[in-house]
């Protein structure tokens, strides 16, 4: 009996020590997190103040150098502020609206520095400046509650976890929405993301579920007679589509096909794949071309091939004529996934190809690459391509592969606007 009491006393003591240790550890972690969040909050408040100063100062200058200095500052601070806001435990809505609004200011500054359209900047920013002042005041009020929590992290956490309509950021959230719409209305070619949603404008005739399965089996005869489960997209989806899930032997996969017109958006099939190659790269290419012919994709060419452990990923782009030359339209691309063991098509992504880009006439002014690049940079390949610039506008460009004539043969893909000679993209290909 005595021994039992003795043992129980030791067990209780050990448990107490363990509990004390765990509690102390949790308290220490909470303090660290509290300090980190408070630091981010203070940092964000300071950067917001700096941004506000820079925006109002940018309205002072006519001198190009002084103005460009402020524009650089605005772009830098807006990026840092976005990063600070993203690291704060704000509600999703407030965080998203802030990031968008601040990002718009930064992008506008970058664009103005590139184009030199200072008049437009000053016209737009006089409104933004006063809205930013109002937002900054509200931010000070909303965040003050976070600094008044006597070091009690649980209170901090409780405030941070409030639903948007109870949150101290309620007013900021409402104002950010209004200001975003008025200060930075969307442009016609806002983003590729928007373009995809524009699939809702497809006006083709509607097809039934069975017809959707027929489309799938025509494209992929290998899955004929699979077991299908077909559902339709939810009512809020920007464009209605059939979601077909299939099982055939060891293959499990899905395909999305538009209700209007029966266009395949994407397809993926999963099955065990042997890593050992059964088909050559040349055969993979032939199989890809055979599929394109069967699917009626006649204006595409392979632009990239990448082998990995189980499959090849192949990228194709639409090709159009530009005078006597051809140009690749990168935003109208298709991707294929082909198994290494048998050459079976495991995936197709055609979402961007369905709605083709409108090609506009654009001047093609020649470039002397010898003066465009430094000595030692060798232009190895040159072709024409349509690609989107920073303003999401489709531009005809020279696409060149440039190799630095050095020990490591550094290689770059450089895309240059054929009219303005603006460098649209630089990618390191090593």
């Amino acid at each position: 009996m005595k021994n039992l009491v003795y043992l129980m006393a030791i067990a209780i003591l050990a448990l107490g020590l363990y509990s004390y240790d765990t509690k102390a550890e949790n308290a220490s972690l909470q303090k660290t997190l509290h300090a980190q969040y408070t630091n981010s909050l203070a940092g964000a408040s300071e950067k917001l103040s700096n941004l506000q100063d820079s925006v109002s100062q940018s309205l002072l200058f006519q001198d190009e150098a002084a103005l460009n200095n402020e524009l650089d500052n605005i772009w830098r601070v807006s990026n840092e502020l976005r990063s600070d806001i993203s690291s704060l435990p704000l509600t999703r809505e407030v965080s998203n609206d802030w990031i968008r609004y601040i990002g718009n200011i930064g992008e506008e500054a970058k664009l103005t520095a590139e184009t030199g359209d200072y008049k437009s900047w000053q016209k737009k920013m006089s409104v933004v400046n006063s809205n930013l002042n109002a937002l900054s005041d509200e931010w000070t009020v909303a965040t003050s509650i976070y600094f008044d929590q006597d070091g009690d992290f649980s209170k901090w956490e409780r405030v941070a976890g409030l639903e948007p309509d109870e949150s101290p950021f309620k007013n900021i959230s409402a104002n950010l929405k209004n200001y975003s719409e008025t200060d930075f209305p969307l442009t016609a070619s806002e983003s590729d993301y928007k373009k995809k949603i524009e699939l809702k404008h497809i006006e083709d005739e509607e097809i039934t579920k069975d017809q959707a399965i027929d489309v799938l089996e025509m494209l992929l005869p290998g899955i004929k007679d699979a077991t299908y489960t077909v559902t339709q997209s939810k009512k809020d989806a920007a464009y209605p589509f059939y979601h077909i899930q299939f099982v055939k032997g060891s293959r499990v996969g899905y395909a999305d096909i538009t209700v209007k017109g029966g266009h395949i958006l994407s397809f993926l099939s999963e099955r065990p794949v042997q890593e050992k190659k059964g088909v050559t790269q040349e055969e993979i290419r032939k199989l890809a071309k055979q599929f394109l012919e069967r699917a009626g994709y006649k204006d595409l060419e392979i632009v990239e091939e990448r082998e990995n452990h189980e499959a090849w990923h192949i990228s194709l782009a639409r090709v159009v004529d530009v005078g006597e030359e051809k140009a690749y339209v990168y935003p109208d691309g298709i991707q294929l996934k082909v198994s290494k063991d048998s050459g079976e098509l495991l995936g197709l992504n055609a979402m961007e190809y369905i709605q083709k880009e409108q090609i506009k006439e654009q001047p093609v002014k020649p470039i002397d690459w010898k003066t465009f690049f430094r000595p030692g940079a060798v232009v190895e390949e040159e072709r024409m391509a349509y690609t989107e610039n920073d303003q999401f506008m489709l531009r005809l460009c020279y696409e060149v592969i440039v190799r630095m004539d050095n020990k490591s043969n550094d290689t770059f893909r450089i895309v240059v606007d054929t009219d303005t000679h603006e460098v649209v993209k630089v990618e390191n290909l090593m």
């Binding site: 190659k277 082998e307 990923h313």
Partner: protein
């Protein structure tokens, strides 16, 4: 007569053995081109480095670095300069270089930094990782990605996908990866994959620590498909489990489709 026959046989076999190229390499019968990946490319890079044409990492990825090195080799050895390693190129390489397959693969699997230049002792060409890298990790983790993504992005996303959706169908795992990439394109979210994943409250797996579980190959393959353009969500920015979601706000988002246990929305 017998003597003549014996001489003829000896001459025939002798000629065959001289004419027949030395096939001391481990190359498969495949033609190796830009975009290829694997053991053939490792041998190609090692042999080109042995001869001083290739100065990059021996990683089994046939990119531009390997391509220019191969072209330079073909030019110097009087072969057709096309940057494609067919039979004649492979034979020429094999006859002029050495390849210690076991040693090279051991270094790659151990995650060591190494080179394979000819005329220099191999033990002087390797920097061991002192056990900091997992054995075998570098070989299986190594993949060819679209140029805008890094292997660090792949690893981080695979962790997130595995932590968030390992019990979901493959489509559902690609979908979670696609949501992360859609956020990267959206102006409402941070500008990097790590900031998106670690945004407070963005992913349950970060909050409950499941993001630190080791992802399987399936999760990595799902991320790879999403990085290559697949988006089973049709442009979703959010998803939630209707059985466990407590936020009123998430229910207010326009819904697109359901995959497994997750509803995807704008």
């Amino acid at each position: 007569m017998i003597r003549t026959l014996i001489i003829a046989v000896i001459l025939t076999f002798g000629t065959i053995s001289i004419v027949k190229p030395s096939e001391t390499y481990a190359f498969s019968g495949q033609v190796i081109e830009r975009g290829a990946f694997g053991d053939d490319v490792i041998e190609l890079q090692a042999r080109l480095q042995y001869l001083g044409f290739y100065n990059g990492r021996i990683d089994g990825k046939f990119g531009y670095g390997t391509y220019w090195a191969l072209r330079n080799f073909q030019q110097q050895y009087g072969l057709t300069v096309d940057g494609v390693a067919g039979k004649s190129t492979k034979d020429k390489l094999a006859n002029n270089s050495d390849f210690d397959k076991e040693w090279v693969h051991t270094q790659i699997n151990a995650g060591n930094e190494f080179t394979y230049y000819g005329g220099k002792p191999l033990d002087q060409q390797v920097k061991t990782n002192n056990g900091t890298a997992k054995k075998g990790a570098s070989n299986s983790a190594s993949v060819q990605l679209p140029v805008k993504y890094s292997e660090r992005d792949l690893q981080l996303m695979a962790n997130a996908v595995y932590g968030e959706s390992r019990g979901e169908p493959y489509e559902g795992q690609v979908a979670v990866a696609a949501v992360i990439l859609n956020r990267l394109e959206s102006p409402d979210f941070p500008n990097s994959i790590s900031e998106i994943i670690f945004q407070p409250g963005a992913f349950t797996a970060v909050a409950d620590g499941q993001i630190w579980l080791t992802p399987n190959e399936r999760a990595k393959e799902a991320v790879l498909d999403a990085m290559n353009g697949w988006d089973p969500t049709e442009n979703a920015l959010y998803y939630f489990n209707p059985k466990t979601a407590t936020s009123k706000w998430i229910w207010s988002r326009p819904q697109i489709k359901q995959i497994g246990e997750h509803i995807f929305c704008y």
